[in-house]
Protein backbone atom coordinates (compact mmCIF):
# COMPACT_ATOMS: atom_id res chain seq x y z
CA UNK A 1 0.00 0.00 0.00
CA UNK A 2 1.39 3.42 -0.89
CA UNK A 3 1.81 5.80 2.03
CA UNK A 4 -0.81 8.21 0.71
CA UNK A 5 -4.40 7.38 1.63
CA UNK A 6 -6.51 7.60 -1.48
CA UNK A 7 -9.88 9.26 -0.85
CA UNK A 8 -12.97 9.34 -3.03
CA UNK A 9 -15.66 11.90 -2.18
CA UNK A 10 -19.21 11.34 -3.46
CA UNK A 11 -21.13 14.55 -2.82
CA UNK A 12 -23.57 16.56 -4.97
CA UNK A 13 -22.34 19.98 -3.85
CA UNK A 14 -19.11 21.21 -5.46
CA UNK A 15 -18.52 23.65 -2.63
CA UNK A 16 -18.57 20.96 0.04
CA UNK A 17 -16.45 18.55 -2.01
CA UNK A 18 -13.92 21.31 -2.59
CA UNK A 19 -13.91 22.25 1.13
CA UNK A 20 -13.20 18.65 2.03
CA UNK A 21 -10.42 18.45 -0.55
CA UNK A 22 -8.68 21.51 0.83
CA UNK A 23 -9.03 20.21 4.41
CA UNK A 24 -7.46 16.89 3.47
CA UNK A 25 -4.66 18.32 1.36
CA UNK A 26 -3.70 20.74 4.13
CA UNK A 27 -3.65 17.89 6.64
CA UNK A 28 -1.35 15.93 4.32
CA UNK A 29 -1.10 12.19 3.78
CA UNK A 30 -4.21 12.03 1.60
CA UNK A 31 -4.55 11.76 -2.14
CA UNK A 32 -7.97 13.17 -3.02
CA UNK A 33 -9.48 11.75 -6.22
CA UNK A 34 -11.81 13.73 -8.47
CA UNK A 35 -15.17 13.86 -6.65
CA UNK A 36 -18.35 12.24 -7.97
CA UNK A 37 -21.72 13.98 -7.84
CA UNK A 38 -23.85 10.86 -7.53
CA UNK A 39 -23.58 7.07 -7.21
CA UNK A 40 -24.54 6.22 -10.81
CA UNK A 41 -21.00 5.29 -11.84
CA UNK A 42 -19.66 4.48 -8.38
CA UNK A 43 -19.70 0.70 -8.57
CA UNK A 44 -18.11 0.60 -12.03
CA UNK A 45 -15.38 3.05 -11.04
CA UNK A 46 -14.40 1.54 -7.68
CA UNK A 47 -12.19 -1.25 -9.11
CA UNK A 48 -10.39 1.32 -11.27
CA UNK A 49 -10.01 4.16 -8.77
CA UNK A 50 -9.25 1.81 -5.84
CA UNK A 51 -9.87 4.33 -3.06
CA UNK A 52 -8.91 3.43 0.53
CA UNK A 53 -11.52 5.74 1.97
CA UNK A 54 -14.95 6.47 0.52
CA UNK A 55 -16.64 9.57 1.90
CA UNK A 56 -20.23 9.58 0.73
CA UNK A 57 -23.28 11.72 1.35
CA UNK A 58 -25.92 9.17 2.51
CA UNK A 59 -28.73 11.09 0.79
CA UNK A 60 -27.26 9.83 -2.49
CA UNK A 61 -27.97 6.18 -1.64
CA UNK A 62 -30.86 4.50 -3.44
CA UNK A 63 -34.21 3.65 -1.88
CA UNK A 64 -32.65 0.41 -0.56
CA UNK A 65 -29.59 1.81 1.21
CA UNK A 66 -28.74 -1.37 3.06
CA UNK A 67 -28.32 -3.52 -0.03
CA UNK A 68 -26.58 -0.73 -1.91
CA UNK A 69 -24.07 -0.34 0.93
CA UNK A 70 -23.54 -4.11 0.99
CA UNK A 71 -22.80 -4.21 -2.72
CA UNK A 72 -20.43 -1.23 -2.47
CA UNK A 73 -18.64 -2.97 0.38
CA UNK A 74 -18.39 -6.28 -1.45
CA UNK A 75 -17.02 -4.44 -4.49
CA UNK A 76 -14.06 -3.28 -2.43
CA UNK A 77 -13.95 -4.93 1.03
CA UNK A 78 -10.67 -3.33 2.13
CA UNK A 79 -12.12 0.18 1.79
CA UNK A 80 -13.61 2.06 4.74
CA UNK A 81 -16.83 3.96 4.11
CA UNK A 82 -17.54 7.24 5.89
CA UNK A 83 -20.85 9.12 5.90
CA UNK A 84 -20.67 12.80 5.03
CA UNK A 85 -23.24 14.55 7.20
CA UNK A 86 -24.52 18.10 7.17
CA UNK A 87 -28.26 17.69 6.76
CA UNK A 88 -31.05 15.54 8.24
CA UNK A 89 -30.54 11.84 7.53
CA UNK A 90 -32.78 9.05 8.73
CA UNK A 91 -31.24 7.19 11.65
CA UNK A 92 -31.79 3.79 9.99
CA UNK A 93 -29.58 4.98 7.13
CA UNK A 94 -27.04 6.62 9.42
CA UNK A 95 -26.74 3.39 11.40
CA UNK A 96 -25.26 1.69 8.34
CA UNK A 97 -22.10 3.74 8.83
CA UNK A 98 -19.53 3.19 11.53
CA UNK A 99 -17.87 6.51 10.74
CA UNK A 100 -19.80 9.74 10.30
CA UNK A 101 -17.99 12.89 9.29
CA UNK A 102 -20.06 15.86 10.36
CA UNK A 103 -18.70 18.90 8.54
CA UNK A 104 -20.30 21.20 11.10
CA UNK A 105 -17.63 19.99 13.56
CA UNK A 106 -14.28 21.72 13.99
CA UNK A 107 -11.32 20.77 11.79
CA UNK A 108 -9.47 18.81 14.42
CA UNK A 109 -12.51 16.68 15.26
CA UNK A 110 -13.00 15.92 11.56
CA UNK A 111 -9.37 15.01 11.06
CA UNK A 112 -9.26 12.76 14.10
CA UNK A 113 -12.37 10.92 12.89
CA UNK A 114 -10.72 10.35 9.52
CA UNK A 115 -7.60 9.11 11.27
CA UNK A 116 -9.74 6.53 13.13
CA UNK A 117 -11.33 5.47 9.86
CA UNK A 118 -7.90 5.01 8.27
CA UNK A 119 -6.73 2.96 11.23
CA UNK A 120 -9.74 0.64 11.04
CA UNK A 121 -8.89 0.14 7.39
CA UNK A 122 -5.37 -1.00 8.26
CA UNK A 123 -6.78 -3.56 10.71
CA UNK A 124 -9.08 -4.77 7.93
CA UNK A 125 -6.23 -5.26 5.44
CA UNK A 126 -4.15 -7.08 8.05
CA UNK A 127 -7.01 -9.52 8.55
CA UNK A 128 -7.35 -10.07 4.84
CA UNK A 129 -3.71 -10.93 4.61
CA UNK A 130 -4.21 -13.77 7.08
CA UNK A 131 -7.29 -14.96 5.19
CA UNK A 132 -5.31 -15.25 1.97
CA UNK A 133 -2.70 -17.40 3.64
CA UNK A 134 -4.42 -20.70 2.88
CA UNK A 135 -1.54 -23.14 3.12
CA UNK A 136 -1.83 -25.44 6.17
CA UNK A 137 1.01 -25.12 8.69
CA UNK A 138 2.91 -28.21 9.80
CA UNK A 139 1.05 -28.31 13.10
CA UNK A 140 -2.30 -27.88 11.40
CA UNK A 141 -1.43 -30.78 9.09
CA UNK A 142 -0.64 -32.97 12.15
CA UNK A 143 -3.99 -32.06 13.67
CA UNK A 144 -5.81 -32.62 10.36
CA UNK A 145 -4.40 -36.15 10.02
CA UNK A 146 -5.51 -37.06 13.54
CA UNK A 147 -8.97 -35.55 12.97
CA UNK A 148 -9.23 -37.55 9.76
CA UNK A 149 -8.31 -40.70 11.66
CA UNK A 150 -11.31 -40.05 13.87
CA UNK A 151 -9.62 -38.82 17.07
CA UNK A 152 -11.47 -36.37 19.31
CA UNK A 153 -10.00 -32.96 20.19
CA UNK A 154 -9.18 -34.27 23.67
CA UNK A 155 -7.30 -37.28 22.28
CA UNK A 156 -5.42 -35.07 19.83
CA UNK A 157 -4.43 -32.69 22.65
CA UNK A 158 -3.02 -35.61 24.68
CA UNK A 159 -1.19 -37.08 21.73
CA UNK A 160 0.47 -33.81 20.63
CA UNK A 161 0.99 -32.53 24.17
CA UNK A 162 -0.90 -29.31 23.58
CA UNK A 163 -4.01 -27.87 25.20
CA UNK A 164 -7.47 -28.71 23.90
CA UNK A 165 -7.88 -24.98 23.33
CA UNK A 166 -4.98 -24.97 20.89
CA UNK A 167 -6.37 -28.04 19.11
CA UNK A 168 -9.71 -26.30 18.65
CA UNK A 169 -8.05 -23.19 17.30
CA UNK A 170 -6.07 -25.33 14.83
CA UNK A 171 -9.29 -27.03 13.79
CA UNK A 172 -10.93 -23.66 13.21
CA UNK A 173 -8.02 -22.58 11.00
CA UNK A 174 -8.11 -25.86 9.08
CA UNK A 175 -11.81 -25.39 8.31
CA UNK A 176 -11.21 -21.77 7.38
CA UNK A 177 -8.38 -22.65 5.01
CA UNK A 178 -9.86 -25.76 3.37
CA UNK A 179 -13.52 -24.71 3.40
CA UNK A 180 -14.39 -28.15 4.83
CA UNK A 181 -16.23 -28.56 8.14
CA UNK A 182 -17.12 -32.21 8.65
CA UNK A 183 -14.70 -34.89 9.86
CA UNK A 184 -15.66 -37.11 6.93
CA UNK A 185 -14.93 -34.27 4.49
CA UNK A 186 -11.56 -33.62 6.12
CA UNK A 187 -10.73 -37.31 5.79
CA UNK A 188 -11.33 -37.08 2.04
CA UNK A 189 -9.17 -33.94 1.90
CA UNK A 190 -6.33 -35.67 3.79
CA UNK A 191 -6.54 -38.68 1.48
CA UNK A 192 -6.52 -36.63 -1.73
CA UNK A 193 -3.47 -34.71 -0.46
CA UNK A 194 -1.63 -37.91 0.41
CA UNK A 195 -1.42 -36.99 4.08
CA UNK A 196 -2.52 -40.41 5.32
CA UNK A 197 0.06 -43.14 5.39
Amino acid sequence: MSSLISVLVVEPSDIIAEGLRSLLSQAGGYNVLAPMHDTSMLQERLPVLRPDLLIINPTLLSSTPRSQMASIESQRPSMTIVALVYQYIESSVLDLFRFRLDIRCCRSAMLSLLKDAVQSMQVKTDKEYVADDYELSERETDVLVLVAKGLSSKEIADKLNISIHTVNSHRKNITHKTGIKSVAGLAVYAMIHNLME
Binding site: G185, V188, I192
Partner: protein, 226 residues
Amino acid sequence: MFTPRMKLADIIAANHNVILLLPRFGIPLGFGEKSVREVCASSGVPEDFMLLICNLYTFEDYLPLIDELSEIDMSPLVPYLKASHRYYTEERLPHIGAHIDNIAGRIDNRYGKVFQQFYADFRNQIEEHFSSEERYEFARVLALQQGASRRGLMKGTSKRSHPDLVDKLNDLTQIVYKYLPGNVLPEETMELVFDILQLSSDIQKHALIEDKILQPYMQWLERRGK
Protein backbone atom coordinates in the same frame (compact mmCIF):
# COMPACT_ATOMS: atom_id res chain seq x y z
CA MET B 1 -44.68 -10.93 -2.41
CA PHE B 2 -46.66 -13.18 -4.70
CA THR B 3 -50.46 -12.99 -4.67
CA PRO B 4 -53.26 -15.30 -5.93
CA ARG B 5 -54.08 -13.04 -8.88
CA MET B 6 -50.57 -13.17 -10.32
CA LYS B 7 -49.92 -15.40 -13.32
CA LEU B 8 -48.08 -18.55 -12.34
CA ALA B 9 -45.82 -18.02 -15.37
CA ASP B 10 -44.80 -14.59 -14.01
CA ILE B 11 -43.89 -16.10 -10.65
CA ILE B 12 -41.67 -18.63 -12.37
CA ALA B 13 -40.11 -15.86 -14.43
CA ALA B 14 -39.31 -14.09 -11.15
CA ASN B 15 -37.88 -17.20 -9.50
CA HIS B 16 -37.25 -20.19 -11.74
CA ASN B 17 -36.74 -22.47 -8.71
CA VAL B 18 -40.52 -22.40 -8.24
CA ILE B 19 -40.79 -24.75 -11.21
CA LEU B 20 -39.23 -27.50 -9.07
CA LEU B 21 -42.03 -27.11 -6.53
CA LEU B 22 -44.87 -27.76 -8.96
CA PRO B 23 -44.56 -31.58 -9.09
CA ARG B 24 -44.58 -31.62 -5.27
CA PHE B 25 -48.01 -30.01 -5.42
CA GLY B 26 -49.12 -32.25 -8.27
CA ILE B 27 -49.38 -29.26 -10.61
CA PRO B 28 -48.46 -30.16 -14.21
CA LEU B 29 -46.81 -27.77 -16.68
CA GLY B 30 -48.86 -26.35 -19.54
CA PHE B 31 -50.81 -23.87 -17.37
CA GLY B 32 -50.65 -21.16 -20.06
CA GLU B 33 -51.62 -17.70 -18.84
CA LYS B 34 -53.59 -18.89 -15.81
CA SER B 35 -53.30 -17.16 -12.46
CA VAL B 36 -52.14 -18.96 -9.31
CA ARG B 37 -55.77 -18.98 -8.15
CA GLU B 38 -56.98 -20.72 -11.32
CA VAL B 39 -54.15 -23.24 -11.44
CA CYS B 40 -54.58 -24.12 -7.76
CA ALA B 41 -58.35 -24.49 -8.13
CA SER B 42 -58.00 -26.88 -11.04
CA SER B 43 -55.36 -28.97 -9.25
CA GLY B 44 -57.13 -28.98 -5.89
CA VAL B 45 -54.27 -27.22 -4.06
CA PRO B 46 -55.09 -24.55 -1.42
CA GLU B 47 -53.76 -21.33 -2.97
CA ASP B 48 -52.67 -19.76 0.32
CA PHE B 49 -50.46 -22.77 1.12
CA MET B 50 -48.97 -22.83 -2.37
CA LEU B 51 -48.16 -19.10 -2.10
CA LEU B 52 -46.66 -19.60 1.36
CA ILE B 53 -44.12 -22.05 -0.06
CA CYS B 54 -43.41 -20.00 -3.21
CA ASN B 55 -42.84 -16.87 -1.11
CA LEU B 56 -40.55 -18.73 1.29
CA TYR B 57 -38.50 -20.00 -1.65
CA THR B 58 -38.22 -16.52 -3.13
CA PHE B 59 -38.04 -13.81 -0.47
CA GLU B 60 -35.07 -14.11 1.88
CA ASP B 61 -36.60 -12.18 4.76
CA TYR B 62 -40.14 -13.55 4.54
CA LEU B 63 -41.07 -15.65 7.54
CA PRO B 64 -44.72 -15.68 8.65
CA LEU B 65 -45.57 -15.94 12.34
CA ILE B 66 -47.99 -18.44 13.77
CA ASP B 67 -50.92 -15.94 13.71
CA GLU B 68 -50.53 -15.80 9.96
CA LEU B 69 -49.97 -19.56 9.64
CA SER B 70 -53.12 -20.40 11.57
CA GLU B 71 -55.13 -18.57 8.86
CA ILE B 72 -53.66 -20.77 6.12
CA ASP B 73 -55.02 -24.16 5.07
CA MET B 74 -52.08 -26.29 6.23
CA SER B 75 -53.56 -29.67 5.25
CA PRO B 76 -51.06 -30.08 2.36
CA LEU B 77 -48.02 -29.38 4.58
CA VAL B 78 -47.05 -32.97 5.41
CA PRO B 79 -47.84 -34.36 1.93
CA TYR B 80 -45.80 -31.51 0.43
CA LEU B 81 -42.79 -32.19 2.69
CA LYS B 82 -42.99 -35.91 1.97
CA ALA B 83 -43.09 -35.22 -1.77
CA SER B 84 -39.93 -33.12 -1.34
CA HIS B 85 -38.24 -36.00 0.49
CA ARG B 86 -39.18 -38.35 -2.34
CA TYR B 87 -37.82 -35.90 -4.91
CA TYR B 88 -34.49 -35.77 -3.07
CA THR B 89 -34.15 -39.48 -2.34
CA GLU B 90 -35.58 -40.91 -5.56
CA GLU B 91 -34.35 -38.35 -8.09
CA ARG B 92 -31.59 -35.97 -6.99
CA LEU B 93 -29.46 -38.18 -4.73
CA PRO B 94 -29.29 -41.11 -7.20
CA HIS B 95 -28.55 -38.67 -10.04
CA ILE B 96 -25.67 -37.08 -8.10
CA GLY B 97 -24.51 -40.56 -7.04
CA ALA B 98 -24.28 -41.64 -10.68
CA HIS B 99 -22.06 -38.62 -11.49
CA ILE B 100 -19.87 -39.38 -8.49
CA ASP B 101 -19.48 -43.06 -9.45
CA ASN B 102 -18.51 -42.03 -12.97
CA ILE B 103 -15.91 -39.55 -11.80
CA ALA B 104 -14.60 -41.81 -9.03
CA GLY B 105 -14.10 -44.56 -11.59
CA ARG B 106 -11.76 -42.35 -13.60
CA ILE B 107 -9.48 -41.00 -10.85
CA ASP B 108 -6.89 -42.73 -8.68
CA ASN B 109 -8.68 -45.68 -7.16
CA ARG B 110 -7.77 -44.79 -3.59
CA TYR B 111 -9.27 -41.28 -3.78
CA GLY B 112 -12.17 -42.59 -5.77
CA LYS B 113 -13.08 -45.02 -3.02
CA VAL B 114 -12.99 -42.46 -0.15
CA PHE B 115 -14.90 -40.01 -2.26
CA GLN B 116 -17.62 -42.57 -2.96
CA GLN B 117 -17.63 -43.59 0.68
CA PHE B 118 -18.09 -39.97 1.77
CA TYR B 119 -21.10 -39.63 -0.49
CA ALA B 120 -22.56 -42.99 0.52
CA ASP B 121 -22.33 -42.00 4.21
CA PHE B 122 -23.92 -38.64 3.51
CA ARG B 123 -26.73 -40.28 1.59
CA ASN B 124 -27.40 -42.76 4.38
CA GLN B 125 -27.48 -39.97 6.93
CA ILE B 126 -29.87 -37.81 5.01
CA GLU B 127 -32.19 -40.72 4.19
CA GLU B 128 -32.21 -41.74 7.83
CA HIS B 129 -32.95 -38.16 8.79
CA PHE B 130 -35.88 -37.97 6.36
CA SER B 131 -37.39 -41.24 7.49
CA SER B 132 -37.12 -40.37 11.17
CA GLU B 133 -38.80 -37.01 10.50
CA GLU B 134 -41.60 -38.84 8.75
CA ARG B 135 -41.90 -41.26 11.64
CA TYR B 136 -42.01 -38.62 14.38
CA GLU B 137 -42.79 -35.02 13.46
CA PHE B 138 -44.84 -35.69 10.31
CA ALA B 139 -46.93 -38.45 11.92
CA ARG B 140 -47.51 -36.23 14.93
CA VAL B 141 -48.70 -33.26 12.86
CA LEU B 142 -51.05 -35.48 10.84
CA ALA B 143 -52.56 -36.95 14.00
CA LEU B 144 -52.97 -33.52 15.59
CA GLN B 145 -54.55 -32.15 12.43
CA GLN B 146 -57.10 -34.98 12.62
CA GLY B 147 -57.96 -33.90 16.14
CA ALA B 148 -55.94 -36.34 18.24
CA SER B 149 -55.04 -35.00 21.66
CA ARG B 150 -51.36 -34.65 22.49
CA ARG B 151 -51.59 -37.28 25.18
CA GLY B 152 -51.32 -40.74 23.72
CA LEU B 153 -49.18 -39.46 20.86
CA MET B 154 -45.71 -40.85 20.44
CA LYS B 155 -43.05 -38.38 21.58
CA GLY B 156 -39.74 -38.28 19.83
CA THR B 157 -37.59 -36.14 17.61
CA SER B 158 -35.64 -36.88 14.48
CA LYS B 159 -31.94 -37.51 14.49
CA ARG B 160 -29.27 -35.25 12.95
CA SER B 161 -29.74 -31.55 12.67
CA HIS B 162 -30.26 -29.69 9.42
CA PRO B 163 -27.12 -27.52 9.72
CA ASP B 164 -25.08 -30.72 9.96
CA LEU B 165 -26.51 -32.03 6.68
CA VAL B 166 -26.06 -28.70 4.92
CA ASP B 167 -22.41 -28.60 6.09
CA LYS B 168 -21.83 -32.01 4.54
CA LEU B 169 -23.31 -30.89 1.23
CA ASN B 170 -21.08 -27.84 1.35
CA ASP B 171 -18.04 -30.03 2.04
CA LEU B 172 -18.98 -32.19 -0.92
CA THR B 173 -19.08 -29.15 -3.21
CA GLN B 174 -15.71 -27.90 -1.94
CA ILE B 175 -14.09 -31.29 -2.47
CA VAL B 176 -15.46 -31.61 -5.99
CA TYR B 177 -14.41 -28.25 -7.33
CA LYS B 178 -11.33 -27.50 -5.28
CA TYR B 179 -9.60 -30.79 -4.65
CA LEU B 180 -10.56 -33.42 -7.23
CA PRO B 181 -8.25 -33.53 -10.27
CA GLY B 182 -9.81 -31.04 -12.71
CA ASN B 183 -8.65 -32.68 -15.91
CA VAL B 184 -10.77 -35.81 -15.51
CA LEU B 185 -14.23 -35.44 -17.07
CA PRO B 186 -14.31 -31.62 -16.72
CA GLU B 187 -17.82 -31.23 -18.15
CA GLU B 188 -19.29 -33.88 -15.91
CA THR B 189 -17.52 -32.43 -12.86
CA MET B 190 -19.02 -29.04 -13.68
CA GLU B 191 -22.48 -30.60 -13.98
CA LEU B 192 -21.97 -32.34 -10.66
CA VAL B 193 -21.05 -29.07 -8.94
CA PHE B 194 -24.19 -27.40 -10.27
CA ASP B 195 -26.35 -30.36 -9.25
CA ILE B 196 -24.97 -30.23 -5.71
CA LEU B 197 -25.35 -26.45 -5.44
CA GLN B 198 -28.93 -26.68 -6.65
CA LEU B 199 -29.74 -29.47 -4.19
CA SER B 200 -28.02 -27.61 -1.39
CA SER B 201 -30.05 -24.41 -1.87
CA ASP B 202 -33.25 -26.46 -2.23
CA ILE B 203 -32.53 -28.38 0.98
CA GLN B 204 -31.76 -25.18 2.86
CA LYS B 205 -35.23 -23.85 2.01
CA HIS B 206 -36.74 -27.22 2.84
CA ALA B 207 -35.01 -27.17 6.24
CA LEU B 208 -36.26 -23.63 6.80
CA ILE B 209 -39.83 -24.81 6.20
CA GLU B 210 -39.39 -27.69 8.66
CA ASP B 211 -37.69 -25.59 11.35
CA LYS B 212 -39.66 -22.35 11.08
CA ILE B 213 -43.05 -23.49 9.79
CA LEU B 214 -43.60 -27.16 10.69
CA GLN B 215 -42.21 -26.89 14.25
CA PRO B 216 -44.12 -23.78 15.38
CA TYR B 217 -47.25 -25.08 13.65
CA MET B 218 -46.94 -28.41 15.51
CA GLN B 219 -46.57 -26.58 18.83
CA TRP B 220 -49.57 -24.43 18.00
CA LEU B 221 -51.66 -27.55 17.25
CA GLU B 222 -50.56 -29.04 20.57
CA ARG B 223 -51.55 -25.95 22.54
CA ARG B 224 -54.86 -25.75 20.72
CA GLY B 225 -55.66 -29.43 21.28
CA LYS B 226 -55.02 -29.35 25.00
